[in-house]
Symmetry: C2
Subunit: 140 residues, 2 copies
């Protein structure tokens, strides 16, 4: 998959997994995201919201992150992985999240918008060979 | 979800995402895994295979990892996240991967078996509120 195909894939999905570090620990969390596209510059990034005070804001202190989105159809999985830097949008930038399909969500609490600026993106297919399907109960 | 429910969830799935660090970078990769259960000790761990020379073997040098498995049904997602330590099984332990539904896969190449010893496990539900479904084309 080339970068354009990867972005198209991302745009067609909404749930990804964010990997980040806090101190020396790696964490991973599912995230409901949207792709932001700035037509003027043709720049694309990911946006997601996180509640005020969330541990996820740790990404602001340690901006290096990785993100994964996948889709499984039968025994075939497609996975797009990206690496980049996360930063919290300033209040005067948060309007950008109004332009993407990220809207209401958790309107009852204060949230922050985090953007991931993508430095690397790649996609791959993997086959889930399932010779063990009939064995799945075996370790009971 | 309590720990038993989390393990049951893991046992019922086969594709997860491994987050690990290599040097100062966080990486994430989809992984086809299996749950290993040792009846004598009632200990559970995750096993996966990785090709000889794979970058994934970096987990051996930096054993701190996180792992995520999820399932989306309609607008409802269930996600199990764990943290733990990864290590490569020694040759005399690799037989353990014979006891789990991880069998053939890539029989043509030399592989290593990596085990994740789990230190924390938790599950959560998240609602994918989709007020924007009709907007998904909007950033074209």
């Amino acid at each position: 998959m080339d970068a354009a195909q990867c972005w198209e894939f991302l745009r067609g999905h909404e749930l990804g997994r964010l990997a980040y570090h806090l101190a020396d620990e790696v964490h991973i969390v599912p995230v409901n995201y949207a792709v932001h596209h700035e037509p003027a510059t043709d720049r694309r990034s990911l946006l997601f919201r996180t509640a005020e005070g969330s541990k996820l804001l740790g990404v602001v202190m340690n901006a290096d992150v990785a993100f994964e989105v996948d889709e499984v159809v039968g025994e075939h999985a497609t996975s797009v992985v990206l690496r980049g830097r996360a930063r919290r949008l300033e209040e005067d930038e948060e309007h950008r999240s109004e332009d993407v399909p990220l809207h209401p969500w958790v309107d009852t609490e204060k949230w922050n918008v985090v953007e991931i600026e993508v430095s690397e993106i790649s996609g791959r297919d993997l086959e889930l060979s399932r010779p063990w399907t009939h064995l799945v109960q075996r370790d009971d």
